[in-house]
Symmetry: C2
Subunit: 388 residues, 2 copies
Amino acid sequence: MSSDHDLDRPDIGARPDGAAAPGANLLALRGHNAALLLGLLRAAGEEGASRLELAERTGLTPQAVSKITARLRADGLVVEAGRRASTGGKPRTVLRLVPGARHAVGVHLDRDEIVCVLADLTGRPTAVRRAPLDFGAGAEAVLATTAGEVAALREAAGGPPVLGAGVACPGPLDHATGVLRQVTGAPQWDGFPLREALAARLGLPVVVDKDTNAAALGLSRASEEVGGASFAYLHLGTGLGAGLVLGGSLYRGPHTGAGEFGHQVLQLDGPRCDCGRRGCVEALCLAAVARGDLPAAARVLGVAAANLVELLDIDRVLLGGRTVLAHPEVFRDGVARELADHAALRGRPPAPGSDPGAAPAVPVARARGGARTVADGAAELVLTGLFR
Amino acid sequence: MSSDHDLDRPDIGARPDGAAAPGANLLALRGHNAALLLGLLRAAGEEGASRLELAERTGLTPQAVSKITARLRADGLVVEAGRRASTGGKPRTVLRLVPGARHAVGVHLDRDEIVCVLADLTGRPTAVRRAPLDFGAGAEAVLATTAGEVAALREAAGGPPVLGAGVACPGPLDHATGVLRQVTGAPQWDGFPLREALAARLGLPVVVDKDTNAAALGLSRASEEVGGASFAYLHLGTGLGAGLVLGGSLYRGPHTGAGEFGHQVLQLDGPRCDCGRRGCVEALCLAAVARGDLPAAARVLGVAAANLVELLDIDRVLLGGRTVLAHPEVFRDGVARELADHAALRGRPPAPGSDPGAAPAVPVARARGGARTVADGAAELVLTGLFR
DNA sequence: TGCACTTTGGCAACAGCGTTGCGAAAGTGG
DNA sequence: CCACTTTCGCAACGCTGTTGCCAAAGTGCA
């Protein structure tokens, strides 16, 4: 029933040797096109898409789409679901993704809690577990808890096929190798090969990433309209961080260091920050929060967000984190005001005939999903490998 | 002598319809692998690379490499050049890129001057022409001058095969469509389809980009060591701009707006900038230059550069532009100092056993190449399409 | 000098990709 | 009921990288 291709073992995680081996053979070609069609079908959602629509949007011939979707149907990932209205000939058959055909585990390792989700192919969680966790208690305890939670989650869901596990943690780490670095307040994790250790423990492929990155990826997916857009998620909790989705995929930088947003200097010779520098956004923002001046905090965040938008041509901003979610409107409105001012100045006289993409202000909203945002995004780290 | 594939007509420039059609067929596969091998051979330079080395680095089988390089040799792009020392068996045959097999035109349309280069496949210019130009004089005059200069350049070089022309201009534009937007001080260019117009005039495929982007791409290539690195070029002349090369390729953002570096706010409620905001780097930096305080200007630039490095995990920074080149050491040292401070604070105690990639300061240097930097980079806009 | 061994790299057959040509299936409209 | 349109699968095909095999071209020891 299941044909022989490798959809059940997607190429999760970057190569540890660092050196890319991007030579493409026929298998890679097949995988690429299959992922492409799956991506379009996922974006099409309930409505589905016909073979000819897929052919137009990919540039593949209709016959190629037929062959590829036949394989996907044989694997149970896609089904025929109804037909469109006829336009004078045979009506188009609608193809739809089967959300439950595969699942991915998402794990959020927070400092005091572990959240695990089992997400279907659309990214929607079908099962959730939460448990207290002492991230500082050391590797063995955390690994054991994680393995137990994931096993319980899979069992409770009836043991559906699982592609892999995405794991999001705080602090710096190397995504390519899955090795943690100097985690603030938990020095014993420094240099720990979390990816390998968890992969062995869970018996699943594992991807590791920063919590803000996972959140950004998940939120980018959830509010997606057009592919290839650029998007920023700003997280203001006990600290300030960001996740960047550029050109449709997470931008991590060569050492998984991208997105360090909190220590952008926004005020030369400003107040000293814990990091040693002066005038960091995080320091300014949290100081304003501490003295109860939320509008000021929102304004500071807004100016920093406008810098980001200006520098990276960002299309959409989402805000999250405990501090923001405690007063979501204040922050949303404050940031929106700064972005509107920025857009007004940037677009000078909004040229009438020209591309209107540059003139309007970049939209801001609070992140939906609440406490599960990071875990959902962690699952998305795995699912991303299946789609394109 | 020339086989039938499309190396002479690479897919230059993005699709105008915006929607990607990324379906891959066998032709795309062939092109990908050929570009990959050409890229490795270009990086190998004079030393060349053997078939087996190429196979190891791409993940392709040796036989596939043999077939692909045979096609490249038939096209004259690659030659056999000597052999390596034997290691107990038949010695490896060395393959080398033939720099002069194809050329690319690079055009820098500046406000008062046009610079044209003819670059070989390594990016090295083999011919240069410069002429005065009034960019504000309108499209027809500029097109005529450009066409004349390019024709003269090609003729003077003996009419070698030319892949296309890269054109770099000031001001905002849309790379995907090749349409200019509101150019400061030259409103008549707004909405002008420069790419189409020039392509028709020159009879060549044309790519259009911002001058800072072209410069960044060219400089990134010239000082390249490892692929996939991230790199920033900061240009301080009459204004302040940047070009970003992320993951080995130019990052333009969805609307070719990325790299707007000058109006990053660096001082909340600072002095007013021409753009309407307060405390922009450009305003701060140029004010310091105007009052003769170059170290202060360099420091401001350095803080902004550190922000960039922090946010995007940048590996290397190059400085250019008239103001910088007038006092290169002052700016280099000032920026280097800020980046060193930043690295010292970021890397906290540089962990002994861990990846040393995070600890050392990001290197800064002045851009080499002088007045030809942008034109060289413009040629690279075309060449990039051939390599991977 | 001869011969065994190692290593490179081409020839030929092959599996599998998307493409092309064509016809069956399944509608609309007069 | 029939002509027409449109969708979509079957079969043959060209071309990709892969595999099996062997010739070429060295080294190193007898």
